[in-house]
């Protein structure tokens, strides 16, 4: 593969009590190739994202981003290097409106503390409105985020991550909580937005239809380790996957 | 509505202040009294308030002062210094009181003295003990109608040296605030001047309001000083004495307690015989010269009926302040040809004033400090009282034990020599005689 390696983990290992959440995980994520992570619950998918973003510290192993070691850095430092994250449960600023959530993110990105400028007047406002349009949430820009339906909250959560203009975006089940009829709509919006922003994405996903349509590569997780990796076509036809993963999901 | 009233009051104030002299006789003579009605020091404030009410009632029944009845407004010092100052201003500027009695706490005296001077209102520091105020500043409107810490401590040293001349070592357990620190500075300076060979074996300043002296008592028992001084008062003193007597410390050391007169009744049998007690003046419900006086005993009985306790020194202090007020007005009225005096005339009349509260006569010196005789005694058990009373009492001459005008107490005390002890006039009294 010619694409440059963005993120690379070597020998990640962690366990909680008796549960093995990561066991010798070696993963490479390549620029421009969207990776879907699939696998049964408890396989360690979220833990993988937590380790990559510094929220959980591994017992052993290393994480490199763009060639730089980030294993024991904090989420904040890793974010500043260009890794953004969207969450399974949207992590929003509950008392702020959708637009304000994005404006805070944009101010954070640009280090704009500006103690006497109103948040609503920062120069990134137009850019953020555009981002809201991109995720199809412009019409709820002024609404408080805790009043919005889950689907829109997920999109805003992702938009916050996109607002940081990351090189790599890690998404934990972007379509969970979204009505199944809307999932493809949401993913269409997202893919468009990701493409426009030239962001590589990694997403944890349970819906194989989504994986098939939107992923460039798939990694199958089980018992804290990557069991298989390949293109969606290869993976989704693999008998083990059909038995252990898809079987469970259907 | 309130603002309208205030405005009217202020307008009147402007008019009257223009004619501060030769004022008309007012409908009432208003005084503001600050006292602790909450917090630990309310053991002093509450009896003083009760006494003030009783005394004002009886003064008013006899025509008040120059025919004008007195009306008192009380301020709770327990509400904090800030609140006291705000109330003080309100009483002076809004209620337009004629005089202020402030205060019990030395800290509050420090605060109100400059304020009284600014507001040009007659202020009696009716109970606080700090000797510093008139030594560090001079005032026109501020007077102290009783003694201060220096005569109180010096007389204690004298009493101790006269009754227990051979003691060698002393320890101190005082409350950790200005009174505790200052009184020890005065006491130790005087003691070192009068008996240079005494060893100070321990100095404890436990936190004000501390509930537990166990550790200090353990140490004192290990050190076994001949004498233990404590100028504490109220709950702190009670706690210390009780814990000390429970653990036998009172058997091995003599306690010297300059403020214990105010705790005698509460302590009951916990304070055993043989310990030295001061009265912050000649304030004692069995005052050897007064206990045969029917007015005095009638007051003591009435006070007991009202409050359930014998009067303690703040009651005497209150009587002195009220009597000083009466004396000053009467003197000013006389000087004014029988007409009601202006405020400044009353202040003028304070110079050299002598007045008599429940105890002996007190005289105001030229530095506005009152001179008062000092009574101390040693505890005994006596029939008719289920608490310790005083025996082997000594009365010291106030003039001799008060810092001379213009001198700073600590410096003056430092210049005393052991001969001083033999030069002071002492009158002796026994319990029951």
């Amino acid at each position: 593969m010619s694409a440059q390696v963005l993120l690379e983990t070597r020998g990640l290992d962690i366990r909680f009590g008796g549960v093995v959440a990561a066991d010798q995980v070696d993963v490479e994520i390549h620029e421009g190739r969207n990776l879907a992570i699939i696998g049964p619950n408890g396989a360690g998918k979220t833990t993988f994202l937590n380790i990559c973003t510094g929220y959980t510290k591994p017992n052993a192993g290393s994480v490199h981003f763009c060639g730089r070691e980030i294993t024991r850095r904090s989420p904040r430092q890793i974010t500043r290097l260009g890794v953004a994250r969207a969450f399974q449960m949207p992590q929003l600023f509950a008392e702020h409106s959708a637009l304000e959530n994005l404006l805070i993110a944009a101010s954070a990105r640009d280090r704009r503390w500006a103690p006497f400028t109103r948040l609503g007047d920062v120069p990134e406002r137009d850019e953020m409105m555009h981002l809201l349009e991109l995720v199809d949430c412009a019409h709820v820009a002024e609404r408080a985020v805790n009043e919005l339906p889950e689907g829109q909250r997920k999109l805003i959560d992702i938009a916050i991550a996109l607002a940081l203009k990351p090189k790599l975006l890690l998404m934990d089940e972007p379509t969970s909580g979204v009505a199944s009829s809307e999932k493809f709509g949401v993913m269409d919006i997202l893919t468009r937005a990701l493409a426009e922003a030239k962001v590589t994405s990694v997403f944890v996903e349970h819906d194989m239809g989504i994986v098939e349509k939107y992923a460039d590569e798939v990694a199958v997780w089980a018992s804290g380790a990557v069991q298989l990796r390949g293109t969606p076509a290869e993976i989704l036809e693999h008998p083990d996957v059909i038995r252990d993963v898809i079987g469970e999901e259907v | 509505m309130r603002i309208g009233l205030t405005a009217a009051a202020c307008a009147t104030a402007l008019l009257t202040s223009a004619a501060a002299y030769a004022a008309d006789k007012p409908a009432e003579l208003k005084i503001g009294i600050t006292a602790f009605l909450s917090g630990p020091a309310s053991v002093f404030g509450e009896p003083a308030k009760a006494a003030a009410e009783m005394m004002i009632e009886s003064m008013n029944a006899e025509g008040g002062i120059g025919g004008v009845p007195i009306k008192a407004f009380f301020v709770d010092e327990g509400a904090g210094g800030e609140s006291v100052l705000a109330e003080y201003r309100r009483l002076v500027q809004d209620t337009q009181v004629d005089a202020m009695f402030a205060s019990i706490s030395s800290g509050n005296c420090n605060k109100v003295a400059p304020l009284a001077e600014d507001l040009k209102v007659l202020n009696f520091m009716w109970d606080c003990g700090t000797q510093r105020i008139f030594e560090e500043n001079s005032y026109r409107y501020v007077f102290r109608t009783q003694a201060n810490a220096t005569p109180e401590m010096l007389s204690t040293v004298l009493y101790l040296l006269k009754t227990k001349p051979d003691f060698n070592s002393i320890a101190v357990v005082n409350q950790d605030y200005a009174w505790g620190r200052d009184s020890w500075a005065i006491f130790s300076t005087a003691l070192k001047a009068l008996k240079p060979d005494v060893k100070v074996v321990a100095e404890f300043f436990p936190k004000f309001g501390t509930p537990d002296f166990s550790t200090e008592i353990s140490r004192l028992q290990a050190l076994r000083p001949d004498v233990i001084l404590s100028t504490s008062w109220g709950g702190d003193l009670d706690t210390f004495v009780r814990q000390a007597s429970q653990r036998g410390l009172t058997n091995s050391s003599t306690l010297v307690l300059p403020l214990a007169e105010s705790s005698l009744e509460r302590l009951g049998k916990a304070l055993p015989p043989g310990h030295i007690v001061g009265t912050r003046g000649d304030h004692y419900f069995l005052h050897p010269e007064k206990k045969a006086d029917s007015d005095f005993t009638a007051f003591v009985d009435a006070f007991r009926d009202k409050t359930g306790a014998y009067p303690i020194y703040p009651v005497f202090h209150m009587s002195q302040a009220l009597s000083a007020l009466k004396g000053a007005y009467e003197k000013a009225i006389a000087a004014n040809g029988g007409k009601w005096p202006g405020r400044e005339q009353v202040v003028d009349a304070m110079a050299g004033l002598s007045f008599k509260g429940l105890g002996r006569e007190v005289t105001i010196r030229e530095d506005n400090q009152g001179v008062e005789d000092m009574l101390l005694g040693t505890t005994i058990e006596a029939e008719g009282y289920d608490f310790a009373v005083l025996d082997d009492m000594m009365m010291f001459d106030g003039d001799q034990v008060t810092t001379p005008v213009g001198k700073v107490s600590i410096e003056w005390l430092g210049t005393l020599s052991p001969d001083f002890l033999n030069g002071v006039n002492v009158e002796m009294f026994k319990h029951g005689s």
Partner: protein, 329 residues
């Protein structure tokens, strides 16, 4: 001009004029303004969802600085006192802040309490330096080199404080509306996300903490020169509790509420102490309970509701000058 805007302006004018008709109120009002500044400090932290039960510390630090300056320079200079006092509070705020911003909620509150109690104990214990529990006199300072009489000084303090408070309130309001102010609020709602934006929650809180320490410091100097005396009581935990009390009374999170609360509190306290001397604490206690149970948005919230009713609106409108001073709840 709308009624909603007119009433506060009329109240402000009344406060400004009151001392000319009731001179004794001048000092009470100055004290209320001084406390209002400190309460504003509490309000800033409330935006981050944190409650400090030790902010009296900063109040006391600057007050003692003023007292020491006055002692060292025989009176001293008001402007120097204000500047150095506030600076000292900021310095202590930085020192304490670096430690306490690692904690949240009860721990944050209790650690602040502990630090302030340490300072309180030191003030009480080191009698020979600090005057112990009796405190220190604050000599009346000169103002820009001009020595002052009491009356003139008090008037100047009052109007100076009033102007200062208006300016500071505006500044704090702008700070809270700014990006960094909004980031402070996200510490309350979602600190994890803030970190995932690449922003240090601790540093953001530290900035807020410094602002609040500075505000308390400013209030402390003002209080010290108004009172003419400082005592360790300035740093006592009950005093910190009082600041939080006033913040809630005024309307938690409201800039205007800090001052409204402080004014009302001082008046209630003064009158409760004067007319119910035995039970003034109880009166305040019930007052506080009533506010929390029946009007938890505080006086400013009550005012908002009243105005809504007067204007015939049943739902809270989005606009309005007063409204914008309140945080989104």
């Amino acid at each position: 001009m709308s009624l909603r805007l007119a009433v506060p302006l009329i109240l402000l004018a009344l406060v400004a004029l009151l001392p000319t008709i009731a001179p004794w109120s001048q000092v009470v009002l100055t004290i209320a303004l001084a406390k209002g500044l400190a309460v504003l400090g509490i309000v800033v932290l409330l935006h981050a969802g944190q409650v400090s039960f030790g902010h009296a510390l900063f109040f006391a630090v600057s007050a003692y600085i003023a007292a020491f300056l006055g002692k060292a320079f025989a009176g001293g200079e008001l402007i120097t006192m204000i500047l150095l006092g506030t600076l000292a509070s900021l310095a202590v705020g930085l020192l304490v802040g670096l430690f306490v911003v690692r904690y949240r909620h009860i721990f944050f509150g209790m650690l602040n309490l502990a630090v302030s109690m340490i300072f309180f104990s030191i003030l009480e214990k080191f009698y020979h330096v600090t005057g112990g529990s009796d405190g220190m006199q604050v000599a009346r300072p000169s103002v820009l080199g001009v020595p002052m009489e009491r009356a003139g000084f008090e008037t100047l303090l009052f109007y100076g404080a009033l102007v200062l408070c208006i300016a500071v309130a505006w500044g704090v309001h702008r700070y809270l509306e700014s990006p960094i102010g909004h980031m402070l609020k996200t510490i309350k709602t979602n600190e994890t996300r803030l970190e995932y934006l690449g922003v240090s929650a601790r540093r953001t809180l530290l900035v807020g903490y410094l602002v609040s320490a500075g505000l308390c410091g400013l209030g402390g100097v003002l209080m010290a020169v108004t009172q003419g005396i400082v005592t360790p009581e300035y740093a006592w935990w009950i005093r910190s509790g009082e600041l939080v009390f006033i913040a809630i009374l005024g309307g938690s999170g409201s800039v205007a509420g800090a001052f409204v609360g402080a004014l009302v509190y001082e008046v209630v306290r003064t009158y409760a102490a004067a007319f119910a001397a035995d039970i003034w604490q109880m009166v305040l206690g019930f007052f506080l309970l009533g506010i929390i149970l029946y009007a938890s948005s505080g006086l400013v919230g009550l005012y908002g509701k009243l105005m809504d009713r007067l204007e015939g609106k049943h739902k809270t409108p989005a606009g309005g000058a007063k409204q914008s001073m309140e945080p989104a709840q």
